[in-house]
Symmetry: D2
Subunit: 311 residues, 4 copies
C-alpha cells in the first residue's frame, strides 16, 4: 500500500500547480478568510493505516459534511420513522433552495440538503436543550474519530446564525408544514453548531471509518449503525452527497461522498478506505473544486470505484 | 451458486403471493393489456451461467431500458462530446416532465429521462435514415444478447408514436433550443422503435453482460465500451436509472439499474451478475413495483450491494 | 341613487339564500370561529352618502386589505424608490408562495402578496420602533375613515405571530437577499398588527374614499396620494388584488379591489363609489366567496365596470 | 379634439428622438429585417374620426395582437364553454413558457399567451379545414376594420411554421392532456396565419373599434360581441395583454391593450378611443419599447386611464 502514499503525494503536487482553485465561500464571514491555496488529504485504510499529504493536519470547518454525522445520530434516535419526515431523492436544485419544500409540503427531499439537515437537528434536539444536542453531536464525532480534541468553532457558529436567513426561512417553512417540533431558533442553534465543527483531514478520515466498515467504530469496537443502515447511508451519499452536482460526482469518482462549503469532502470506499480532502475553493455548485478533482484521480488510479467489476 | 437459483425460486414465490401488484401502464394501448400477474427473473453470472425463474422466457416491451443501449450506441458515435448536449444529474422530476428543459435551456438533465433519450436518438440518427438508425440499435441489442431473434414490436412502436404527444413536445422543445439536428418526427421514429424492442428477461440479462464485465461483450470478445465509460454508465444508472425514484432504488437495492414502463428492470452487479426482472404493475413513479421489491431482496440476500464492504 | 340601496338590499337577500358559503379561514385560530353566515355591505358614493346592508356595522379582521393602506403609507415614506424593492406584476401563484421569491432573488412580485407587504412593513418601520410603525398605520386608517374608534385586535395579531411560520420564512428569505433592513420579528410585528386591524364594512368603505377620489381624503381635504399614484394603486388592485384569482375578479367585476382572508373585500369604482363587503367563507384561492359574487352583481347591475364605455 | 392630433404629433417627435429603440425580434427571420426606426400611431375616436402620425399607414405583422380577434371568433363559436379549456389569470411567466402548462395539466392560463391562442385556434378550426379557419379569421379582421385589402403575409406565416418549435411543443403538450382536438400541425397552421396578418396602425385602430363600442362594429352596425363579453375581453387585455409585463402596463397606462412581437400594440379606451401604435424594437418582456412609452404618454396626457375618476 506504499503506492497509496505515492498517489497522495502526486495528487498534492498536481493540485498545487493548478491555476484555477475555485472560489472560497464568502457568505459566512469567517470562512471567507481561508486561503484558497490550502490543500490537504488523508486516507485511512481498512487495516487502520493512515496516509496523509499537504495540509492534512490543519482544521477546517466541516460544514455540511456534518450532515452525515447528524443523520447517523438522528437514525439512532428516531429509527426508520425518520424517513416519514425527510425523503431519499436527489433534489434537482441548489443546496439551499426552498422551492422543493413548497412543492412537497415541507418534507425535504433528502437529509443532505440544508432543509433535511434542519429536520435532523429537530430530531436530535428532541425535547431537550440545544446545548445537550450540540454536545451529543460533538461527542459522536469525537468517538468516531477517537480524538477528544475536536471542537466547535464558536466564531463560525455565531457568524452562521447571524447571517443564515435562508436557513431560518427553510426552518420556518418546515415548521409551517408541521415538520419541526421545536422552535426555529433552537433548531438552528443545533444545526449551526454541527456545521461549525472544525476538523483536520486526518481527523475527518478517522471519523469516517465506520462508513467504510459496515457501521462498526474500530476505535471502540461498537456498532454505531447496523451494516444495513450503513450501506443505505453510503447510497444516499452517492445519490445526494454533492447537492445538484451529485450525479457528476458519482459519474467521475464512483464512490459515496459528502461535501461541505468549507471545502472539505469525506469519501468512502466501502471496505477499503475512508478519505478526507480539503481545498477551500468551490465550484459553481458549492463543492470543493480541487477536492473533487483530487478524489476523481485518487479513486481512478487506485481502482476504488464501486462500479469497478469485483471478483 | 446453486443458492442463487434457490434465491430466485423463493423470490418468484414471494412475489406471486403479494396482493398489490401495482398498476399496469395504460397510456400506450398495447401495454395496457399485459397481465399484472406476470413475473419473471433471469440472472447471468460472471462465469456465464444463466439462472431463471417465473416468466423469464416471455418477451415484454423493454421501453426505457432501451435508453441504456441508446446511450451506449450514441457514446460510440459522438464520444464525450455527447455530454455537451445532455447532463448527468438526477432530474428531481417525472420522467416526462418538460419543466426542467425550459429552465435549463433545452439540455436534458440526463440520458435516462425521455428528453435525454430523444437527444441520444438524434445523435444515433446522425445524417442518416430512421430505418438505418433503428437497424443499428436492434443490431447492438442482438449482438449484446447473442440472439438474432430479438425484434421490435411494430404494433407498440406505432401506438407510441400515435399517442406520444408529450414526447413530441419534448423533442420540439429541445429543437427550439437548437439541441436537435433532425426533424422531430424522424427522431421520434428512432426513439419509439428503440422503446418498442421486445425481450425476455433471459435475453435482457444476456444483453446486460457488458455492463457487468467492464464493457466487454463476452459473446464476441469485443470491447463495446471502455472500462472507464462502463463504470460511468453504471454510475448514471445508479443516480438516474429510476427517474424520480432513483434515490430510493439506490437506497434499497444498492446497485445500478434501469427500469422501463413495460415493467422490466435491468440490474448490474459489477463483476458479479447481470439481472433482469419483469413484473408489469408499476409504482407511483412508473417503476415496476414487484420488480423493485424482488431486486431489493435478491441484492440484499446475495450481498451484492456495491456499498457492501469488500476485501 | 335610491336604487343603489335597493340593489344592496336585493344582494343581501340573494347572498343569504345561497347554500354554499365557502370555507372560513382556519389557520389563524381567532378567525376560525367567525360565523360563515355573516354578510355585510357598505357603499360610499362620491357625494358622500353611505348606503348599507346586512352586517355592515360589525367589525371583522381586514387582514390583507391592510396591504392597500400599507402601500399608501410606504409610498409616502419611500416614494417611487419603493419599486426597486417590490415588483408590479401578478404573481401567478398563491398569496404565501415562496417559489417566486427564490426565482426573483428576494424581490416580491407585487405589494399585495404577503412577501410584498412584508417589505412594505420594513419600509414603514424604517429605523424606528414597531410600536410607532403600528401606530402610524392605525392613525392613517382612522384618518381615512374619519373614525378614531377603529382598533387593532391584539388577540388576532398575537395568534398570527404565533402561527405565521410561512410569513417568517418569507421575511427571512427576503432578508437573505438583502431586501429587509430590520430584523425579521420586528418587521413581522408591524405586518401582523396591520393585518389585525378590525373594521366594519361601513368603516372600510369610508377608509377607501381616497382611492375613489384621486387620492384626496374628503374628511380632511388633504391629498393622501397624488392623483397619479392613486390611479396606479387602483391599477395594482385590478391586476394583483386577489392573489392568483385577480384575473378572474377583473373579468367578472371589472373594478379594482383588494381582498383579505377575514372575508372582506374593498372595491373602488373610481369617481363613483367606495365599497366594502364582508362574508367570512372563502373560495379556493382565499378570497371571500359570497363577497366576490355580491360585488360582481353590484358592479354589473350598477354599470360600474371601468370597462363600461363612457362618454 | 384637435388636441389629440397635437398629442400624437408631439409623441411621434419625442419617440423619434429617443436613442434606445429596443431590440427587433429576430426569431422569425422576416421580422428581423424591419427597421427599428419605424414609428406609427393611429387613433379612432368614438365619433369615428381617425387621427394619425408617423408611419401609421405602413403594414406590419400584428403577431399576438391577433389573439384578441381569435378570442372574439372562438367565443362566438364555443360560447362560454371555451373557458373550460383556457383560464383567465395572468401567467406570471414568459409568453412561450411551457412550465405552467405542465403544472396546470394542459389548460393554458389565459387566451393571450401562445398556448392559450393555440387552443383558440383549435376551436376555430373545429372539424373544418385550416384554409377555411384562416379565411374566417381574416374575414373577421377585414369586417372589423372595414377594409378588404388586409392580407396575410404568407412569407411570415411560413417562416413562423418552419421555426416555431416552441409552439409545436406547446400544442403537442396541450394535446397530451386532451386539450387539442385537431392535429398539431393543422392547428399551428391556423395559429401561424393569424399571427401573420399584416395591418397598418390605421387599419388596426379601425379593427379595434368594436372593443371601444361595447362590441358593436360601427362599420356594419352589427353586434360582434355582447357588451358583457366585450367588457370581459377588455378586462383580460388589462390583466393579461402584455405577457409578464401586464401589471406594469396597467400600472403605467391604465388601459386594456394587447401587444405583438412585431412591435404593434392595440389599446382600448372604452367609449373613447381605439388606438394602435407600432415601433418594432421590443423591451425585455417582448413588448414594443417605444410603443409602451408612447401609449403611457398618450393615455396620461389625454386623461384616458380607466382609473381616472369619472362623473
Amino acid at each position: 500500500m506504499a503506492d497509496i502514499q505515492h498517489l497522495i503525494d502526486i495528487i498534492v503536487e498536481e493540485m498545487r500547480e493548478r491555476p484555477d482553485k475555485g472560489r472560497v465561500a464568502d457568505y459566512i464571514p469567517p470562512l471567507a478568510h481561508v486561503s484558497p491555496d490550502k490543500f490537504g488529504m488523508a486516507v485511512v485504510l481498512a487495516d487502520g493505516r493512515m496516509l496523509c499529504g499537504g495540509d492534512a493536519q490543519e482544521p477546517f470547518s466541516i460544514q455540511s459534511i456534518s450532515k452525515v454525522f447528524s443523520l447517523t445520530l438522528a437514525l439512532g434516535m428516531a429509527g426508520d420513522g425518520l424517513w416519514n419526515r425527510v425523503g431519499r431523492e436527489p433534489s434537482g436544485s441548489a443546496f439551499n433552495s426552498i422551492v422543493q419544500l413548497e412543492r412537497e409540503q415541507g418534507v425535504p427531499r433528502n437529509p443532505f440538503i440544508n432543509a433535511g439537515a434542519i429536520v435532523m437537528s429537530d430530531i436530535i434536539l428532541g425535547r431537550g436543550e440545544p446545548r445537550e444536542a450540540i454536545g451529543q453531536t460533538l461527542r459522536l464525532v469525537r468517538d468516531l474519530a477517537g480524538d477528544d480534541m475536536i471542537a466547535i468553532d464558536e466564531h463560525v457558529a455565531r457568524a452562521e446564525l447571524a447571517t443564515g436567513f435562508r436557513n431560518e426561512a427553510l426552518a420556518a417553512y418546515a415548521k409551517a408544514f408541521g415538520n419541526l417540533n421545536n422552535e426555529v431558533d433552537r433548531v438552528l442553534g443545533v444545526y449551526s453548531h454541527a456545521c461549525a465543527i472544525a476538523m483536520s483531514c486526518a481527523q475527518l478520515a478517522m471519523a469516517g471509518r465506520y462508513l467504510m466498515l459496515g457501521g462498526r467504530n474500530p476505535e471502540t469496537g461498537k456498532q454505531v449503525l447496523s451494516p444495513h443502515r450503513t450501506r443505505r447511508i453510503n447510497a444516499l451519499m452517492m445519490t445526494c452527497g454533492h447537492y445538484d452536482n451529485s450525479g457528476e460526482f458519482a459519474f467521475r469518482v464512483g464512490l459515496p461522498g459528502k461535501s461541505g462549503v468549507g471545502g472539505g469532502i469525506l469519501l468512502i470506499a466501502p471496505g477499503v478506505a475512508s478519505v478526507a480532502v480539503w481545498a477551500p475553493g468551490l465550484n459553481a455548485q458549492g463543492n470543493s473544486l480541487l477536492g473533487s478533482i483530487a478524489l476523481e484521480r485518487l479513486a481512478g488510479r487506485a481502482g476504488w470505484s464501486v462500479f469497478e467489476p469485483r471478483g
